[in-house]
């Protein structure tokens, strides 16, 4: 449901504004999947797609309190925005930056230590 003249990056930036939601995450996942197939930054976009997808699945069909919602999404939009800004500048995304995002996701989902 993007505007006809809106670039994928503009659409991504708009979706990343304000707090995330399941609907936004599903759309972000879809756009990163398209970008992963369409440009040189395949790996970062592939990781970003999976991070958004994983979080959207975690929220799907759950009675999530605002507090739990905050815990699940904490730091994700900010990290994705930083990576997106680097990509827009044509900079290479390091493995550490991607790992840091995935670590944040796993921490939010409380997957560490099980």
């Amino acid at each position: 449901m993007s505007l006809p003249n809106e670039s994928p990056n503009q659409r991504l930036r708009k979706l990343l504004q304000g707090s995330l939601s399941q609907n936004k995450l599903e759309e972000l996942a879809r756009l990163f999947d398209l970008l992963a197939q369409d440009r040189a930054t395949v790996l970062p976009c592939f990781v970003l797609h999976h991070v958004c997808r994983r979080l959207a699945v975690a929220l799907d069909g759950e009675a999530v309190t605002p507090q739990r919602f905050g815990e699940l999404t904490e730091g994700i939009a900010e990290r994705i925005t930083l990576i997106l800004m680097q990509m827009e500048k044509g900079r290479t995304i390091s493995e550490q930056e991607l790992e840091s995002l995935v670590v944040q996701l796993f921490s939010n989902l409380a997957l560490f230590g099980r």
Binding site: M1, L20, K24, A63, T65, P66
Partner: protein, 203 residues
């Protein structure tokens, strides 16, 4: 055709199950990101065999009645997976029980296109040119219903109208109707709240 009393009784029975199994009060962040004091997980009701019989019978009556009012012939019923899936199939089965040999078919709409093959979003019994009823479990902003409508139209279908299990009365119905599609709810938020017995808030 059910009498209006029989239909009212079935709706009352279904509402009781819905409220018991699918409704929670408290503070929740919805899939749209909005906060609400009411959470409705219709899957628990639509996937309950006893409730599924009622969903089918009531849904089929709503579909038949609305199609007759609008003078439309409906070929198929379906909506966005997974919320719509059990509802569509229940309606399709009820149509067969009521009128053996009825040609009403059911289908499902993927949230995203399949990554390989034909990349189609609609699976099941749908063909280009079909007139369909789009169903959904809950309407809040109308986003998932509109996604299903867009997918049907992108693949050459015509949407007759929309049936939803619960209209949360948060603007979604109006968003869909602004696009020119009538929305027929089984229940509204007001029905759900009127049925709900007082009990401690969900933490």
């Amino acid at each position: 055709m059910l009498t209006s009393t029989a239909l009212a009784n079935q709706k009352s029975e279904l509402l009781e199950i819905l409220v018991k199994k699918s409704v929670k009060r408290g503070s929740f962040t919805l899939s749209s990101g909005a906060t609400s004091d009411l959470y409705v997980n219709c899957k628990l009701t639509a996937l309950d065999p006893q409730a599924a019989l009622l969903v089918g019978a009531i849904g089929w009556e709503l579909l038949k009645g609305t199609a007759a009012e609008m003078n439309l012939r409906v070929n198929a019923v379906g909506g966005l997976t997974m919320g719509a899936d059990p509802i569509s199939l229940s309606i399709g089965i009820a149509a067969q029980l009521d009128q053996p040999g009825n040609p009403l078919q059911t289908f499902t709409v993927r949230k995203t296109a399949k990554e390989h093959g034909l990349r189609k979003r609609i699976e099941g019994n749908f063909v280009e040119g079909d007139t369909v009823v789009v169903v959904d479990d809950v309407v809040t902003t109308g986003g998932s219903t509109i996604q299903a409508i867009e997918a049907v139209e992108a693949e050459g279908g015509k949407v007759a109208f929309v049936i939803v299990l619960v209209d949360r009365q948060e603007g979604g119905r109006e968003n869909i109707e602004r696009r020119g599609y009538k929305v027929v709810p089984f229940f509204t938020r007001a029905d759900v709240l009127a049925e709900r017995k007082p009990q401690p808030a969900f933490a």
